[in-house]
Amino acid sequence: MSSPILTVDNLTIGFGRSAEQAPAVRNLSYYLNANETLAIVGESGSGKSVSSMALLGLLPQGTSRILNGTAMFDGRDLLHLGEEDQRTIRGKRISMIFQEPMTSLNPVLTIGRQMTEVVQAHDPGAANVEKLAVTMLDRVRLPDPSGMMKRYPHQLSGGQRQRVMIAMALINRPEILIADEPTTALDVTVQAQILELMRELKDQFGTSMLLITHDMGVVAETADRVIVMKQGERVEEGTVTGLFENPTHSYTRKLLAAVPKIGTSDVPPKADATAGSRAPVVEAKDLNKTFRSKGHDVHALNEVSFSIPPGETLALVGESGSGKSTAARAILRLMEVDSGEILMDGQDIRQFGTQLLRKSRKQMQMIFQDPYGALDPRMRVDRLVAEPMRIHNIASGRELQDRTEALFRQVGLTADQMRRYPHEFSGGQRQRLCIARALGVEPKLIVADEPTSALDVSIQAQVIELMLDLQQRLGLSYLFISHDLAVVEQMSHSIAVMLHGRIVEVGPRDAVLKTPAHAYTRELLNAIPIPDPQRTRGKLTVTDRSAFSKGPLLPVSEFHLAAS
C-alpha cells in the first residue's frame, strides 16, 4: 500500500441552530489509499452521506456548517477551498455517483450531451470528446454505445442509467470515486451487475472508491476496508474480513446480526398443521390486467393464480415491473383487473358493489412500503389507528379508546404516544402504527407491500419479528410482497416468483429456495449479495428476461410448480 491519497481529520459538521451542541458528524477521521475501496456503513442519520458530501462542497447551503477538521487531498484541504478551486476538483479528480439513477440525469438532454459536458466543463478545448464518450459507454457495457449517445434518460432502464452515471463519473479518470448508495434503488440482479462493473473499472482505472452504503452484503462483496458509523461517530474501523469475523464494537455486532442472510433461517415460521386442509382465506384465479401505454400493451398480470391458507404467508417476489404490486392491489380491489376471480369465503369480491366491497375490506387490510406517506400527516395517530374500527363500526367512545390503546401496546408503542402526529415518529415506529391500524378490524389477511424496504436493517428485523409474532398470536395470513429473498425466507411459508406479470414458479418456501426449478429463480438467488467476505459467489450470468420459459405451470414435486 502506498501513502493515502485522501486523509480526513477530525471532520465535524453541524446543522441548523443546534449545530454546535449536537453535530451530525463528530470528529470523523479516516484515510483512503490509492486503488482501495473504503466502505462507510451506517443506518439513516449516522452522518455517512453528509461526511462525504462535505468533501465536494455539496452540503446544503445555509443550514449546515463545517465546524472543524481537514480533508487533505494532493496537498490541499478540500474543506477550505474556494468555489473556483472546488470546481476544478469536482467531477475531474473526485467524482460522485448518486443513489437515484432515475433523477440524477437531466431529463431534457441526450446522454451524449451530458457525457461530453462533463469533459468540456474542465477542458473546453478537449478533442475527440464524442469518441471518448462512446468508448466510456462501451466500457460500462451498454449496448450500442454510439446509438446510446443520442438517447434521452427516460428511454433507459434504471440499471442502464446507473451505468451512464458511472461512465460519466469515470470519463475524466478521477482519482477518487464517491458512490453514495449506488445500487440501493436497483433490483438484485442489476445490483450484482453494477457492483461487478464497479469492481472491474476500479482496477482498470486505478481509482480509489469511497462507498457509502447501509447494505452489509454490498460491503462484503466490494470493500477492502470498512468504517462503521453511528450517530455521527465512527464506532469501528477494520479490514473487511477482520470486521466481519471479529466485530469488536457491540453496534457492529448488532448491525451484522440484523442482516437477514439467505439460507440461514432453517425453521420456517410455525404454521397451523391443519392449515393446508382448511379453506383458503383468499384465492385468486386467472387474474389478467393489461396497461395500455403509447401503442404497446403491458401485461401487468397474466393468468395469475394463487391461494393463501389461513395463518400462512405467501410471498410474491420478483423484480420491479414484475407485477407483484399490481397483484397486491388487485386483491384489495384498489385496482380493477380485466378478468379473473378473487374468492373470499367462496364469493367473488369482483362482483361486489360499493357497500359490500367496503364491508369486505374489513377482512383484508394493507401495509404500505412508505410508512412516511401512508399516514395522513394532519391526523393524530390515535385517530388514525382507530379509523378503520370507526369506519366498520367495531367500537365507539370509551371502548374504541381502550381498543386503540391496546393496539398501541400490541405493536410495541406506548399509550402516551397516542396524542402525537405522524411526523413525530421514526420510520420504524410509523410502520408499527400502520400495522396497528390494520389490526384494529381483526382482518384475516394483511397485504404487505414491501413493508420493510424503506427501513434500516435493525428496524427491519424488529418489524419482521413483530409481524411473525402477530401471525402466531392472531392467526393472520399475509400476502407479503418483497424483492428481498432473505426477508422472504424469514417471513413466508410459500413463495411465488413473478416475471413479466406471470408466476413462473410457486411452491413451499424450502422447495423454491433450496431446489429452485426455474432458471429465473436460480438467477435471482445467485444475485443476492452475500454478507460474508469469505464466501464469493460464482460468475454471475444474466439472461435476457424474454428468454426465460413462461409456459403453463407444471408440477416439479408435490405443491411445487414451475413454468415449462
Partner: protein
Amino acid sequence: MSLQTASVTGGTSSETMLKLKQFMSNRGAVLGLVIVMTLIVVALFAPMIAPYDPQMMGAGRRLQPPSFAYPFGTDEFGRDLYSRVIYGSRLTLLIAAIAVGIALAVGLTIGLIGGYAGGWTERVVMRLVDVVFSFTETLIALAAVAILGPSLKNAMIAVGIATMPFYARICYSTVLVEKNKPYFEATVAAGAGHARILFLHLLPNILPTMVVVATLGVSTAILAAAGLSFLGLGAQPPSPEWGWMLSAGRDYFSRAPWMMIVPGVAIAITVLGFNLLGDGVREILDPRQTNRR
C-alpha cells in the same frame, strides 16, 4: 429525516414557535401584517377616528386642498376626504371578505369534487371552470353586474364569481397531488367512505394551501371591486367606496388632484399590505421552507 427524528421530542408547540420566528424575520410580511392590522383597527373604530361624518356636505368649503383642518382636503361637495377614506376602509374590508368568501367556497367545492370524483364529473366540471377562466376577470364581473344590476352587493358577488376559477383550479390540482399520496390509498384500503375521505382527510390537507391562495386573492378582489365601482357598476353615490371616490375625482383632476390621489394611494397601500402578508403566510405554510435540512 434527521429533522423528523429530532422533532420527536420537540413537539408541535416548538414548531409553531419556529414558524412564528420565521414569519417575524421576514420584514415584508411584518410590514404587510402591520398594514392589514392598521386597516382593521381603522375600520372598527372609524366613528371615533374620523373628524366628520363622511356624508356631511359642506363640512368645509368645496375642493379645499389638504390643510390642518382637512388633512386630505375636501371634495366637490365639501365633504372631508380624510373621514371618507376612513369609512371607506370598512367597505373595502367587507368587499374583500365577501368576494373572497364566495370565490373560496364555490372554488373549493368545485375543485374538491372535480379532483376527487375524476372521470366524467371531472371533465365536465373542470372544462366549465376553464370556460370562465378563459375570459378576463373584469369581463366576467361586468357580465355578472349587467345581469344582477349595479350595486355594491352585486359587485361583491360578481367579483366572487369572476375570481372563483382561480381557486377552483388550485384546489383541483392540490387534490390531485394529495390523491397520489400513499395515505389516500391507505384510507381507501381501510374501507373509508366518500365523506370521510373528503372531509377528514382531503380537506385538512388542502386547506393550508387554500388559506394562502385566499390571502393573496384578497388584493385581487379589492382591485376588481374598486374597478367596478370606478366604472359606476359597484358602489353608488354617496357611498365612500374608494373605487367610486377615484371615479368621482376624475372630473376635478386638474383643479383638485388630491381627490384621486387619496383613494388611489389608499387602494395601493391596502393591496400591497395583503400581498406582503400573503407571501409571508405562504412561506411559513410551505413545509419545504422549514423542513429543508
